[in-house]
């Protein structure tokens, strides 16, 4: 009857529903936390308490194996999407002075025909990371490594800010008629290759990915080959090595020609 108080010991509904629920919960807990783990000998559990802890998901220290340090230097730069997005005019000014040392290869305006990278308009975070990697030895180049060896952190920030400040200018190779190869637009999902454009600017830009438009084809091809062979390995988590290893020689040529022709 409705007048009867709900929570009273004489209400059979309370006893029955709470009882059934508790029994189901207990049985499922016993089965899930004790019986099923103990029924799996490969878990090598030490007893009931060990079984409960294991099934409840209590984290346990992994056995300490020997860690093999890599025999090469890895990049220590942490990239974030917001890194160095806000230019500082003083830094740009200092960078302009420092950049006079770089002009012989990279051009007085950050653009050159020397098959070295065009730095004008490059993202500051990208230039900074590469300088840093040259300095630490994560990336090695006979010309660049000695330059970077003596740079201070502030020097690298200033240079990066200066080159990001310079406008991108059309190079002598610009050509609107070069079609975008499939690897740039769609990648090759079955070979685990994301579209180049999804990081390098045609579709989207991801942290740490350089702007490739107008870069020398010789340079792009050399870098992809270096990534593929493992000579260059300062890419974070092997992102570019994994891509380059799976690209065909023909695709590398197409990509290099395409990006060289872009503004």
């Amino acid at each position: 009857m409705s007048e009867q108080p709900l929570f009273s010991p004489r209400n059979p509904w309370v006893a029955a529903s709470v009882g059934v629920t508790v029994v189901i919960a207990l049985v499922s807990a016993l089965a899930g936390l004790i019986w099923l783990p103990l029924a799996q000998p490969e878990l090598k559990l030490a007893g009931i308490w060990d079984a409960i802890c294991s099934a409840a998901g209590v984290p346990r220290a992994a056995p300490r194996g020997e860690q093999l340090p890599p025999d090469f230097k890895t990049s220590n730069v942490v990239m974030t999407p917001e890194m160095l997005r806000r230019p500082n005019p003083v830094s740009i000014g200092r960078g302009a002075t420092l950049a006079q040392r770089c002009a012989i290869c990279h051009g007085p305006q950050g653009v050159s025909d020397a098959n070295s990278p065009n730095l004008a308009g490059q993202y500051a975070a990208v230039t900074y990371k590469e300088l840093n990697d040259f300095k630490t030895g994560a990336r090695v180049n006979a010309v660049m490594s000695p330059f970077a060896a003596n740079m201070s952190n502030q020097d690298m920030l200033d240079l990066a800010a200066y080159y990001a400040y310079l406008p991108r200018v059309p190079t002598s190779h610009a050509d609107d008629n070069v079609p975008a190869p499939p690897i740039v637009v769609t990648g090759a999902p079955m070979r685990n290759i994301a579209p180049c454009g999804s990081c390098h600017g045609d579709l989207d830009n991801k942290a740490g990915s350089p702007w490739l438009g107008g870069q020398s084809a010789v340079y792009i091809k050399a870098q992809l080959t270096a990534f593929a062979s493992g000579i260059r390995r300062n890419d974070i988590s092997q992102q570019m090595r994994n891509v380059a290893r799976n690209m065909t020689a023909e695709e590398i040529d197409q990509v290099a020609r395409y990006y060289e022709a872009q503004p």
Partner: protein
């Protein structure tokens, strides 16, 4: 008597308008990722579209239907005007504004995180703020349903709460509690990161919180459908409800066991222990119980109606049912889809079987068949049943209604059965591009193309549905105030005069629901909150733009 017709109509019209838009997006998504489309679009647009489709279909559309239907049930079954009319309008405005606030960043490509959020992906804060506004708006409805039932009980001591209202309040409590998980995730984990106050997030904990919401939300979507089964269907076909008490027990079971089962969505997640996965699996199995009770009661009710109409024989009575009646048709088609969808669901909830279809297109097929099929087809039926009472105009394009319902059933079958199949073949879900030229994937091309045709049929059916409602809105007005014209609910074979307190109130069941949540979720959540170094850097969606 329905007095706040404008309030209820506003909910339904907004619900069906956003449903129509999201349906177009859904059909487009199916086309662009199929072999029928040469790959020539920005995959970003696909994820934008999936986010919008999921957010609208998962949060906005069913919430508005449940709210509008709930207000209608409250007024019609308690036979008194809604208490808190202004609050109800405030809730509606919150949902409407929230939906717009959430959709702006999504359409700008700043929140392509899909409606399940997927931390460590983090989108624009306004997306999450919009979703929170939708949820808060619906919590106003939860409170109003509870208050209206309490006011009625105070004025009618000892009388059984009408079944429709009892079920409606059960659904609202279920939603009120299950939405807490996602709310905790958004407010304490995602929003601080989206607003730039923190740059790392405990993605594992966030997924556990979301699973708290993710499964029981399905039962919140389902409750209006079940209310329609129990309280509209028997009346519409001229029969009686087989058992009032069985109906109450079904809704109570949903309230108690629908909640502590969400971890079966995390079977492949390493941050939850296998023991808790097993416990959630057991309770997931128990949820089949109220559905089986319902199928039995509804079939028995149909048999009563048929025998009253002269049906006879062990199975011959089925032919005597009023098949020309759209409510009859919708309920039958809904039960068929519920059967297939439920069978698939038993596979999802089994730890070992799940491993073969986890995160494949099978899952997409499963929830479209259950939600888009079994549940939404009854939303159509509810609208068809309620529309004349809301508009005061006749809704008599029965042929169009039957065509629409059949098209929806055929469309959903042609869409989701091939999806289940390609899921078994291993096709992953949530991807914009599949290389069907690859020999390993090419066997899926035919099935995927078939499902595109299903999507097109669904689009046609959805548009036809809106046309039927618009025609109803433009038909000439009928004379008002006739007693026999009032919107009524089914009468049970044995209408209860008195009823045990447990079947007339929620205190006991809410205590069990919260208790089971603590038992099944308490330790996994507490452990993840205590553990250090479980945070990962957030991945900001669209940060470069």
């Amino acid at each position: 008597m329905l007095t706040n017709k404008r309030l209820i109509l506003a909910h339904f019209w907004l619900a069906f308008a956003v449903f129509g838009l999201a349906l177009v997006l859904g059909a487009w998504q199916m086309f662009v990722r199929s072999p029928l489309n040469a790959w020539h679009f920005d995959p970003e647009f696909y994820y934008r579209s999936v986010t919008a489709h999921g957010t609208v279909m998962g949060y906005v559309f069913p919430t508005l239907v449940a709210m509008g239907f709930g207000y209608a049930i409250s007024e019609a079954s308690l036979e008194r005007p809604l208490t808190g009319r202004r609050w109800a309008w405030a809730g509606f405005l919150l949902v409407a504004v929230g939906a717009v606030v959430a959709m702006i960043p999504v359409s700008l490509g700043l929140a392509s995180v899909l409606y399940t959020f997927y931390p460590p992906m983090v989108g624009n804060p306004f997306y999450y703020i919009g979703v929170v506004m939708v949820v808060v708006g619906s919590w106003i409805w939860v409170a109003l349903m509870s208050i209206n039932m309490a006011v009625w009980k105070r004025d009618n001591p000892g009388k059984p709460v009408p079944l429709a209202m009892f079920a409606n309040v059960a659904g609202s409590y279920l939603w009120g509690w299950t939405a807490v998980g996602a709310a905790l995730e958004i407010i304490f984990q995602i929003l601080p990161v989206a607003l730039g106050l923190r740059s790392t997030i405990d993605a594992g904990l966030a997924r556990v919180f979301f699973s708290w919401t993710l499964h029981a939300i399905v039962y919140f979507w389902l409750v209006p459908t079940y209310i329609a089964y129990y309280t509209i269907f028997p009346r519409a076909i001229g029969g009686r409800l087989y058992s009032d008490a069985m109906a109450r027990i079904s809704f109570i079971l949903f309230l108690v066991v629908a909640m502590p089962i969400g971890v079966h969505h995390l079977f492949a997640d390493p941050q939850v222990g296998a023991g808790f996965k097993f416990m959630h699996s057991v309770f997931t199995g128990l949820v089949a119980l109220p559905t089986l009770l319902t199928v039995f009661t509804i079939c028995a009710s149909a048999e009563i109606a048929s025998r009253l109409r002269g049906g006879s024989g062990a199975f011959g009575w089925v032919t005597a049912l009023p098949w020309a009646n759209p409510i009859m048709l919708a309920t039958a088609l809904s039960l068929v889809m519920l059967g297939f969808g439920g069978a698939g669901g038993l596979i999802n909830m089994s730890y070992q079987l799940d491993a073969s279809i986890h995160n494949t297109q099978w899952i997409t097929g499963h929830f479209h068949l259950i939600f888009g099929g079994a549940i939404v087809i009854m939303y159509f039926a509810i609208a068809y049943d309620l529309w004349p009472h809301l508009t005061g105009r006749a809704l008599d394009s029965f042929g169009w209604m039957r065509t629409q319902l059949w098209l929806w059933f055929i469309g959903m079958t042609v869409t989701t059965f091939p999806w289940h199949y390609v899921g078994i073949l291993g096709m992953p879900r949530r991807m914009a591009f599949y290389d069907y030229a690859n020999p390993a994937i090419s066997p899926q091309a035919l099935s995927v193309s078939m499902s595109v045709i299903g999507g097109l049929i669904l689009l046609i059916s959805g548009m036809l549905f809106l046309v039927v409602l618009i025609r109803g809105q433009m038909a000439p007005r009928c004379e008002e105030g006739r007693e026999e014209g009032a919107w009524r609910f089914s009468v049970a074979l044995h209408m209860p005069a008195t009823i045990p307190a447990a079947l007339n109130s929620f205190g006991l069941w809410l205590a069990l629901m919260i208790g089971l949540t603590v038992v099944n979720y308490g330790y996994p959540i507490a452990q993840l909150m205590v553990l250090n170094q479980t945070n990962v850097p957030a991945v900001y969606v669209g940060a470069g733009r």
